[in-house]
């Protein structure tokens, strides 16, 4: 029982620790590199990671429910590809293209969710196969990258929303709105609570009369939707569709969610943690870019090292808090 007790106390604490460590990280950056703490650098954290934040939000739901979704990066790429293709080759109106992309993402996720639930397949494998499939479908559309020159997309891409002396992109705003909606859904709706219940103990959730099947399908559909939305943001960001976009993003998203204090075993964590996790990863990258002296391999080693320090400090503080 003590084990579960310390578990329960840790996620909340871990989330707080993450935020504190993030501030330390930013502070250290500001101290070491002039110009690091300017508003625009901080806003860039949001702008550049908007798509990752959206994916991480969807991923939070999946992980809290005790699953995992490895297909998100590929679904993102597929969305950029489909949008670009529909816009450039078929000249469909941008809003329709966006709606279709989002629907495809959600449908893709729902299909995986259905496979996972109704055939009792393992999420890891289903979404891994989904990852191959979505990437493969990109190449079926085209192996070239497709440049998007639709005026609406271009306009959104170059729009700057002024905030506090700097600016953010519409993409960043959409990401923040998604986060807010997701927090509301997770904590204030029966669906959100059912996600936690399924993650806590799926068997029990079923015995308590929750609609476990529907919840699980919806969770993966939501994650697919988020991946597609991230894909739309990515299309704004890059103005291109490309099968090699966002490789390995699923790992970044999982790392962000876990660093944000969510337990991979399901049931514990906060959707808001996705934001702090994404910002931590972003801050690490920005630090490295500001340093500007690291070679490729040192970049990897330093990212690994910072991740290590971060996770260990986080873990030690959580252990300390549980002992108290």
């Amino acid at each position: 029982m003590t084990n579960t007790r310390s578990l329960t106390s840790s996620p909340y604490f871990t989330s707080l620790v993450t935020v504190a460590l993030l501030l330390v990280l930013l502070g250290a950056g500001g101290w070491a590199y002039p110009g690091f703490l300017s508003e625009q650098v901080l806003f860039n954290l949001l702008i550049d990671n908007a798509f990752l934040l959206v994916i991480a939000v969807g991923m939070s739901f999946v992980i809290i429910s005790g699953g995992i979704d490895l297909s998100v990066g590929s679904v993102l790429a597929l969305t950029t590809m489909i949008s670009a293709w529909l816009l450039q080759t078929w000249h469909w109106p941008p809003l329709v293209v966006i709606a279709i992309s989002l629907a495809i993402g959600a449908g893709f996720g729902a299909a995986m969710g259905a496979l996972i639930h109704y055939f009792k397949l393992q999420p890891f494998i289903v979404t891994l196969a989904g990852m191959f499939l979505a990437r493969g479908l990109c190449y079926l559309i085209s192996i070239n990258s497709i440049t998007i020159d639709d005026p609406t997309f271009v306009a959104v891409s170059q729009a700057q929303l002024p905030v506090l002396g700097g600016f953010i992109s519409p993409g960043a705003l959409i990401a923040l709105i998604t986060l807010a909606v997701a927090i509301y859904v997770a904590h204030c709706t029966p669906f959100g609570r059912a996600i936690y219940a399924v993650g806590g103990n799926e068997q029990s959730a079923l015995m308590m009369g929750l609609r476990v099947g529907r919840t699980k399908v919806l969770i993966y559909a939501f994650s697919g939707f988020c991946a597609a939305l991230a894909g739309v943001l990515f299309s704004f960001y890059m103005l291109s569709g490309y099968g090699l976009h966002a490789q390995g993003t699923e790992l970044d998203a999982i790392a962000a969610v876990v660093i944000g204090g969510t337990l991979l075993s399901g049931g514990y964590g906060y959707v808001a943690g996705a934001l702090s996790g994404v910002l931590v990863l972003g801050a690490i990258q920005t630090l490295i870019a500001f340093d500007g002296t690291l070679s490729s391999w040192w970049t990897k080693i330093v990212i690994g090292g910072l991740l290590f320090i971060f996770c260990v400090v986080q873990r030690l503080m959580a252990i300390g808090a549980a002992k108290k």
Binding site: T2, T4, C188, R193, Y196, A197, G199, N201, G209
Partner: protein, 517 residues
């Protein structure tokens, strides 16, 4: 006790239900009628098929054959949600709640009180607190469920079932980890519901409880319905014999009061026995105030107390499952400190946890593997117990404890609750510990098996094993223990030799412990 009302139409009727699992015919042609305004108790030995019947009835399993009629109409619940929507509210045998959610949410999930912007959290917590208070459980409902011991979790599960205004309430061994006070509270709630015309199906292994609350009793044996009786027409002896399947008037067994078991009682004054283990000032912040415990060879020490009095905590500290902040343990006058259960096991201690689902059974492994796990752990990785020997041990204990299983290679998860408990007990018995800590060992075990197990354990005790016995059943503690330590508010409230206490005086000690300190 209310008499049978003259409601001739059953709310719920089962006709010829059969259900087979691979290798086991769990139910064959079971019929049952449940009338509004009655408490109907389902009795039977471990593995008789009670829980399976309930699971079929509530849509967890689909029956192979048979019909379920609700208000005379055939229904086919395909999920627990279906059953709930049909007005059947259930508490299953193993606590089926979500450990990560708060207590309040566990009660309300699936039917949250709503407010404009979503869930009415405040209202929900208030209602949950009130609901639990009705059963005199006063806890912080905003904390996660995993924070609370099993007994509280069981109360929460019951509260959840009571929340819906259902036609039928099903309770599968809800009282297995409750103590008498809680049971009485539960019963008064049930009586109230019965007055309102609810039909209640109740499963228990306690004869006293059966007679205290039931109107009618259905006895099950080996997956079949043995018969249905009005409670008042059936004597305890008859009931037990029907469960076991002995001809009327043969073996007399039951939860007879202590007097009936005097023969098995030890003659040796326990003070003369050699001390095996002594713990001084053993404590842990937030769990147990420093206390002293002495265990003697060949003696059974009972720990009595109410729920949450710290008995389990004390046991866990002795076993090294939690780390003590204070105190010292000596065994054979040598100081020992246990950093993990492993150390305690090496020192000859065994601990059978009260929470079999989370802390005991390794559900997917076979009966054999579960049974030899602790023995093998002590032997170490390299010295594997030969398969032959494992099988032999498993067969031996399956027989000795009367474990009902298709074979020793069956996964323990498909055994009935009581039989799982027996396997876990056997896990420790095979290690032949010098000190065995039994935390609610008879939880969910049927009357006859309980008797047999306690006899078995007592016999081991006579042979020199010392036993720390924790049970919420006060009479049982009083009956079998050579010495009793009464616990209260997470500290020892006093120590008494056998016979110095009876049920009322224990409660007295607990209630007014101050005088005894």
């Amino acid at each position: 006790m209310s008499t049978l009302t003259s409601a001739p139409v059953p709310v719920l009727e089962l006709r010829g239900i059969s259900k087979a699992f691979t290798g086991v015919q769990a139910l064959s042609g079971v019929s049952l009628k449940l009338y509004p305004g009655e408490v109907h108790t389902l009795m039977g030995q471990n593995g008789a098929g009670k829980s399976t019947l309930i699971k079929v009835l509530t849509g967890v399993y689909a029956p192979d054959q048979g019909q379920i009629l609700l208000d005379g109409r055939a229904v086919h619940p395909s999920s627990t949600l279906d059953a709930q929507n049909l007005g059947i509210s259930t508490v299953y045998q193993e606590v089926n709640l979500c450990p990560n959610l708060s207590v309040a949410e566990n009660i309300f999930i699936g039917r949250y009180p709503r407010k404009l912007a979503g869930i009415d959290w405040r209202g929900m917590q208030r209602q949950a607190t009130e609901l639990l208070e009705r059963m005199q459980v006063r806890i912080d409902v905003s904390l996660p469920l995993a924070h609370y011991p099993l007994a509280i979790q069981q109360m929460v599960a019951i509260s959840r079932a009571l929340l819906v205004s259902a036609k039928v309430l099903i309770l599968d061994e809800p009282t297995s980890s409750l103590d008498e006070k809680e049971v009485e509270l539960l019963f008064s709630v049930l009586r109230g519901l019965r007055e309102q015309g609810m039909a209640i199906l109740f499963v228990t292994h306690f004869l006293d409880q059966t007679y205290a609350i039931s109107d009618r009793i259905t006895v099950m044996r080996n997956g079949e319905r043995e018969g249905e009786y009005a409670c008042s027409d059936l004597s305890r002896l008859e009931l037990v014999n029907k469960m076991v399947g002995a001809p009327a008037g043969s073996v007399a067994a039951g939860s007879a009061p202590a007097a009936g078991l005097g023969a098995a009682a030890p003659v040796a004054a326990s003070s003369k026995l050699a001390t095996l283990l002594r713990a001084v000032g053993l404590g842990r912040k937030g769990a147990l105030m420093p206390m002293d415990i002495e265990l003697r060879q060949g003696e059974m020490l009972g720990l009595a107390g109410l729920l949450g009095s710290g008995r389990t905590e004390a046991a866990r500290l002795l076993f090294g499952a939690d780390k003590a902040d204070s105190g010292a343990i000596t065994i054979d006058d040598k100081e020992r400190s246990f950093a993990s259960p492993r150390d305690a096991i090496a020192a000859g201690i065994g601990f059978c946890s009260e929470d079999r689902k989370h802390e005991g059974a390794i559900l997917e492994l076979s009966v054999r593997e579960n049974l030899i796990l602790a023995l093998q752990a002590r032997a170490g990785i390299m010295r594997a117990i030969p398969l032959k020997r494992q099988q032999q041990l498993a067969e031996e204990y399956v027989k000795a404890l009367g474990i009902k299983t298709a074979s020793i290679e069956t996964p323990i998860g498909s055994l009935s609750g009581g039989n799982q408990q027996k396997v876990l007990l056997a896990r420790w018995l095979v290690t032949e510990p010098r000190l065995l800590i039994l935390d609610e060992p008879t939880r969910g075990i049927d009357v006859r098996a309980k008797q047999e197990i306690m006899d078995y354990v007592s016999a081991l005790c006579r042979k020199g094993m010392s036993i720390l016995f924790i049970s919420s059943e006060l009479p049982e503690v009083l009956r079998v223990s050579d010495r009793i330590v009464v616990m209260r508010d997470r500290k020892a409230g006093g120590e008494y030799p056998r016979g110095a206490l009876d049920e009322t005086s224990v409660l007295h000690v607990i209630a007014a412990g101050a005088d005894h300190e």
